[in-house]
């Protein structure tokens, strides 16, 4: 790999080595940066965790600046997980449908334009979704949520024990709708790529055996793509967990563990950081960093699982051929 042997070789080798060292240093900086993120979050979270008189992981309230400080991440983590799960439940069927439509149903010419359109949805900044959610969606959702609560109130998630849905709609459900819109393009884009890689021979074989188009899609396209789609869903989950501004704008804050997704209130880790940061004192800010650490751990876990699933799917597909 070294420069060809000549009188100039030694000088060339030295330059070659120094450029190599520069790129290696850049790679090292990236590693150090990632370590620094973890270290600084931990170090700056410790003062608040020490001062906390409640149990950080299981307590529900958030008064880190009162004396003595009382706060816990439980309600925030619960709201984060509930709103993200609900968002996925709404977004995933639509996103997979969109991917199947673009790859298998739409005429070629329109398909690429529809792909651009869905990608464009991913390009809209989250603060614009938040603004749209507040001005457009919330007033229009009140009636729908009340209808859901009265018709499907027997379903525990949709219950409305205090009759709040008639007038207020800043609920986990609305936040989940906004999150779903933001997660949709990610899941759709990854599913599309995965579906596109399906071996055409499989599809032809299914059609040759007399399968209808849907049977072909179900058995020859969706079945071998399951792992890849699951990976896309996990990446979407990672995005939903960390989404801050749209949720901060849409959700009316409360610190309770409340399963009734249609009733107003609820909070997420990320939204709480955005809402509380400006007014927080030293302990409050340290407490927010501690909650950010929990969020970081959650998204780290989800993303690692996603990468592993996608990687395994790719390997298995490669091995089949």
């Amino acid at each position: 790999m070294a420069a060809p042997g000549s009188v100039l070789a030694s000088r060339r080798v030295r330059r070659f080595e120094s450029f190599r060292a520069i790129t290696a240093a850049a790679a090292l900086i990236t590693l150090v940066l990632l370590l620094a993120v973890a270290i600084f979050l931990v170090v700056k979270a410790i003062p608040a965790l020490r001062a906390d008189t409640a149990s950080f992981l299981t307590a529900k309230g958030w008064q880190p600046d009162s004396t003595p400080p009382v706060f816990g991440v439980a309600a925030l983590a619960f709201g984060t997980l509930l709103s993200s799960a609900l968002a996925l439940a709404m977004a995933v069927p639509v996103a997979v449908g969109v991917a199947v439509f673009i790859v298998e149903y739409a005429p070629k010419r329109i398909a690429s334009w529809l792909g651009y359109a869905v990608d464009l949805l991913a390009a809209v900044p989250s603060v614009v979704f938040g603004l749209w959610g507040v001005v457009f969606l919330i007033p229009r959702m009140t009636g729908f949520q009340h209808w859901l609560a009265t018709r499907f109130g027997w379903f525990p998630l949709f219950a409305d024990p205090d009759g709040q849905t008639a007038t207020a709609s800043r609920s986990i459900f609305v936040a989940a709708v906004v999150l779903a819109i933001m997660v949709l393009p990610i899941v759709a884009a990854i599913s599309r790529e995965v579906l596109r890689q399906v071996d055409p021979a499989l599809k032809e074989a299914a059609l040759a055996l007399g399968a209808t188009q849907w049977e072909m899609v179900r058995m020859a396209v969706l079945a071998p793509s399951r792992a890849g789609i699951a990976g896309g869903v996990m990446l979407g989950l990672g995005r939903a967990l960390g989404e801050t501004i749209a949720v901060a704008l849409v959700l009316g804050t409360s610190f309770a563990i409340n399963w009734h997704v249609l009733t107003p209130g609820g909070n997420t880790i990320a939204a709480n950081i955005a809402n509380y940061f400006a007014e927080a004192g030293p302990t409050g800010r340290s407490a927010l960093i501690a909650s950010g650490l929990v969020l970081f751990a959650m998204t780290l876990f989800v993303n690692t699982v996603a990468r592993t699933v996608i990687y395994r799917g790719a390997v298995r597909r490669g091995g089949d051929r």
Binding site: R15, V94, G97, W132, A270
Partner: protein, 302 residues
């Protein structure tokens, strides 16, 4: 490939499908309907958001809006503009790009040209981990490191560091993909001519991949331009014009939208829409520019 799609279309052409009767035919129709429905449902929010932003934004958007700041403007006042925010956003994104793009390029070169298999795998994994950092966590990191540990105040530069953390993995992965597309024959030809490896990379590999890399950089810039959460914790927001990104709190378009949208007064909400329109305009121009570049890219044509 062409033959495949052709035969797939033949089968759905009607004659063949009609022979399938009863339950299977009904299920097939229902499934097709469901796919069309999913596509329609996905397009509704896109159209609603864009239509609403353009409609509401344009009614308040003006030259006056672009050239005035929010200095001394209360929530009920109908005047005020986004000049200070646009200035802040441009400076912050520019500084973030100046940090993230060269570093990301060097990492991509290391991954594709120099790194051993295991080292490259490790770095790639960590870059993937970085991709998953929520933007608010990147903001918290810079706040903990820059504001709390080093006792520097809020500033545009602090914000650009947070944005750079978010940009870096995107630049690395897209640049690496583009470097990988450069045929190895190009490198071998250069080596055969006695050109050193570093020179081959800088004057042959990078220029060949430059269009693709530029596209990736533009997409990364478009992504961070709309980031709000990290700016809240690092740039903090400012009503006044602050042209110095290294000293004092600044504003930014996403921050301005967030602050104006949090207010209940119609005049503030109108300003939020006009700022949202400005932001979307910038992001869409970046995206369309990136798409046009991709179309002209020689490497992507093959």
């Amino acid at each position: 490939m062409t033959a495949t799609t052709h035969s797939a279309h033949l089968a759905t052409d009607g004659v063949h499908v009609w022979k399938i009767r009863g339950r299977r035919a009904v299920v097939n129709r229902l499934a097709a309907f469901a796919m069309y429905l999913a596509m329609g449902v996905a397009l509704v929010p896109l159209i609603a958001v864009l239509w609403y932003t353009v409609g509401r934004g344009l009614s308040r958007f003006s030259l006056n809006f672009l050239t005035h700041s929010m200095a001394g403007v209360g929530p009920l006042d109908r005047n005020g503009g986004a000049y200070h925010a646009i200035l802040g956003t441009v400076e912050q994104v520019l500084l973030a790009s100046l940090m993230a793009v060269p570093l990301g390029l060097l990492v991509a070169i290391y991954l594709n040209e120099y790194g051993s298999r295991t080292m490259a795998a490790i770095v790639r994994l960590l870059v993937d981990v970085m991709t998953g950092i929520p933007s608010i966590v990147a903001g918290l990191f810079v706040f903990a490191f820059w504001v709390l540990a080093l006792h520097k105040g809020f500033s545009g530069f602090a914000g650009s560091m947070a944005l750079a953390v978010l940009m870096l993995p995107v630049v690395v992965r897209s640049a690496e993909e583009m470097l990988r597309l450069v045929p190895s024959a190009f490198r071998e030809a250069a080596y055969a001519l006695g050109i050193a490896k570093w020179r081959t990379i800088l004057s042959i590999v990078l220029p060949t991949a430059s269009t693709g890399i530029t596209t990736g950089v533009m997409l990364a810039v478009a992504r961070v331009t709309g980031e709000t959460a990290p700016l809240l914790l690092t740039v903090f927001g400012n009503q006044y014009i602050n042209g110095n990104p290294f000293h004092g709190a600044q504003s930014g378009l996403p921050l301005l939208i967030f602050q104006q949208a949090s207010s209940a007064y119609p005049a503030s909400v109108d300003r939020a829409w006009a700022a949202a329109f400005t932001l979307i305009l910038i992001v869409v121009v970046l995206y369309v520019g990136a798409r046009l570049l991709t179309r002209r890219d020689a490497l992507n044509q093959r």
